[in-house]
Amino acid sequence: MCASLILIPFISVLILNLPIKGMKRLAFGLAALLFLLQMVAVLIPDAAFWKINHSFCAGIFNFELGADILSKVVLFCIGMVSLVTLFSALTFVKDSDEKFNFINILLIAVCGMNAVAMAKDIFSLYVFLEVVAVSSFILIAFNRDMPGLEGAFKYIVLSGVATVLMIAGIALLVLIAGSTNFSLIHYMLIAQNKSLIVSLAIGLFIVALFIKSGLMPFHGWLPDVYTSAPAPASVLLAGIITKVAGVYALIRIVVSMLGFSASIQSILLFVGAVSVILGALAALTQSDFKRMLSYSSISQVGYIILGLGSGSVLGIAGAAFHIFNHASFKSLLFINSAAVESRLGSRDIDKMGGLAKQMPLTSLTSVIGSLSCAGIPPLAGFWSKLMIIIALWLVGFKGYAVIAVLGSILTLAYFLTLQRKVFFGKPSDEFKDIKEAGFSLMFPAIALAVLIVAAGLLAPWLLKGFILGFVPIIGG
């Protein structure tokens, strides 16, 4: 029945577009309800709900869906970030027709992401990744202005490269394994004992997903795209799309299909560590609010990949927890940047100052988001980073653990710079007429901030069950 998570949004799009009067006004409420339901549905314990197996074409193309705890974490994040995006669109997309279009494309993107989160074979994964990619092109270029179009173009080109690499990889794997199913390929790969062609296929696949995740040194497109996209689209992209299309897909491929080997681990750890440090260093020097957050995203994705690279249950549980944390604090920070942008009309942090007086709630929520991102306890980000660091240390990658620890201090440094320049300074007369952002930006910001604090305080209670949930996945 988990297919309903894909079908219901899709059918909703169809129904909304029926030529009946008044449908357009329903769109917002319907979408909000769907996203909320998705967040609740993750809690359904029934195992039968989360499995579906349907054979379209005997043998090779087997359409199979299933969700383990990793998928559920991602499904929850998809619902959460999409809901937040929906609210922020109320401020930034004024025209009612445009708003309707935005919601439609958002629903299609959610369809695609849900399917990626539950796909159990390599071909469906690829197809739905493309659904997500195409809807993101449109969302990035939604305002049809020059920077948006340019950003969308960059994304199309880079995504195109990734697609080519991926499909080549799939072709080779199907050639070797004779199947697209993750677990079947996994067994075939073990049996094949690593020939050159297998290594090539794996290499193509991993590089493609590195590009999609925006990891260093494949990150060139990411800051440009996040910065030039309209505010709601950047919330969605940074919060969840690149996490699902790149990071989650990478975790899924490594965990369920490739398995861990010394060479894969060393590649993951190296790329992760480089992203953590260089992403944070690059963020330190930015003066554009959204650009700083984009580099911060690269750095945080590095942490997730470090967790994955540890190859242990604890590390992967930490990585999944960090995906959730990243979705919550980075959406929150992008919402904050949207709030500031909506009031000041600018994103240049060098020209801001002392906004805490005019925008107290934006300021408070951004402090919570920043500190969670920097891994300062007792906020949620601390626990996931701690899990990742402990995992790296216990497995024996002590050098990488130290890099992960020191990355936190860089993260804190750029967020303190951001706070100092935007919120935490002397109130300036220039901004004395600025008001707090409207409800549609404040509501999601406050909700996310509460979620971050609550997750941080409750984490010790939840961790045990959470970590145990990952044991069957890593077992293969």
């Binding site: 007086k357 601390f382 240390w393 710079t417 300074g425 002397k426």
Partner: protein
Amino acid sequence: MNYNNLVLGIIFIPVIGALCLPLAGRVSSRLRNILSFLFILSSFILSLKLIPLVLTGKTILISQPFALGLNFTLLADNLAVFMTCVSSLISAVIVLFSFGYVSHYDNQNEYYCMVTLFLGAMMGLVFSANLILMYVFWEITAITSWRLIGFFRDKAYVLKADKAFLVTVFGSLIMLIGFISIFQQTGSFDLPLIKEAYKAQLIPNLIVGLILVGILSKSATLPFQTWLPDAGVAPSPVTALLHAAVLVKIGVYVFARIFIVNITPDILWHTIVPLIAGISAIVAAGAALIETDLKRIIAYSTISQIGFIFFGLSIGNSIAILGALLYILMHGLAKAGLFLCAGIIEQNTKTKDITKLGGLISTMPFTGVAFLACALSVMGIPPFGGFFSKYLVFSGALAEGRLWIVLIYLICAFMTIIYLFRVFNLIFLGKINIEAKEGSSIMVGSVVGLAVLSLAAGILIYYPYKFAQVATWQMLGALK
């Protein structure tokens, strides 16, 4: 009376109360101020109630196990209760002083919220017997001190707040690596279990070094001391609270909690730590001699005195540890008094430059006398409390035969006398340069109160001495 609830109350009344203060501030600023004071006072009173129990040698252990060893473990013994009594008493006086001091600045809601939250986190840190729990509270104190140092919001001030935050977080992250290595070796973050595990083997020196980095950065000891004088840009009650009386003692306390009570490090560290602290003490005393900014002088003096506490703790015999514990009390009282006096002077003369001041004793008699009393206590002149703590630290060190190191500290103690008299002369004696009147009654009352406490702690030394002695015996495992 359930003692577990007492311990939880000491921590969570201020922590949860702090979050309600901004709401109370919307109703009435008076209500908020009084609530803030009451929350902190309740911690003090509840701590006092624990004293009879712990003096008998009993301890209170609260344990709630969680995955990965991230257990919620609290332990109340003599050392912890001694520390909570001292911190909450001084904090309560400081909050009282704040009523007068911050009453005409912006952001008071944030101010009271952060001060109360700080105290709550401090209480949590003192009671925690799990390294990660300790780390969590440790970082909460860092967040609050970041907001409080940047209270005035000037760009230069916020930069210094950021610096304090970054330096202390850097230290604590290094310390976290140390904690994780301990976890790898012993399989636990709980101090009682770690204690058992390290009975069989010696703790590696690398781990001691890593943890020491965190401790030294929080206690502003060389080479991490620079943030403390800079943090003097904060409002005076904040500098008194964070940087003289309470926050900098965190490092000292954690040193005692980890390296005296639970783990015995290599004998090597009995030489290294006094040496680092000694260099730190003498360098800071030198800086205090030439500095002209009043608050920076007192901040350097704090760094210098912290050196004495480390000295006492790291010597390791019972007399020196007893002296160090009393030092925490005496220095807290006296130094908070000095910072608060500096606050009154700064607010009424609009300058912190001691060369521009003079003759204030005639117009600010109470502040002047209180300043002198606190200064005498810091110098270690009998019958003030500071004398006894300094004396015990020295006599403990001499009993171990560490003549060379004692000599460093002796020079340092002389320098303390010189720079504090210099400050007193320049501000209160001589001819009047800037006219100023006495501070408001609540502010003057608080500093006089601290001065009287400093004197009383010396005259009635029997009581704190007795308490600290039991605590020392318990720390060294001699009390059963």
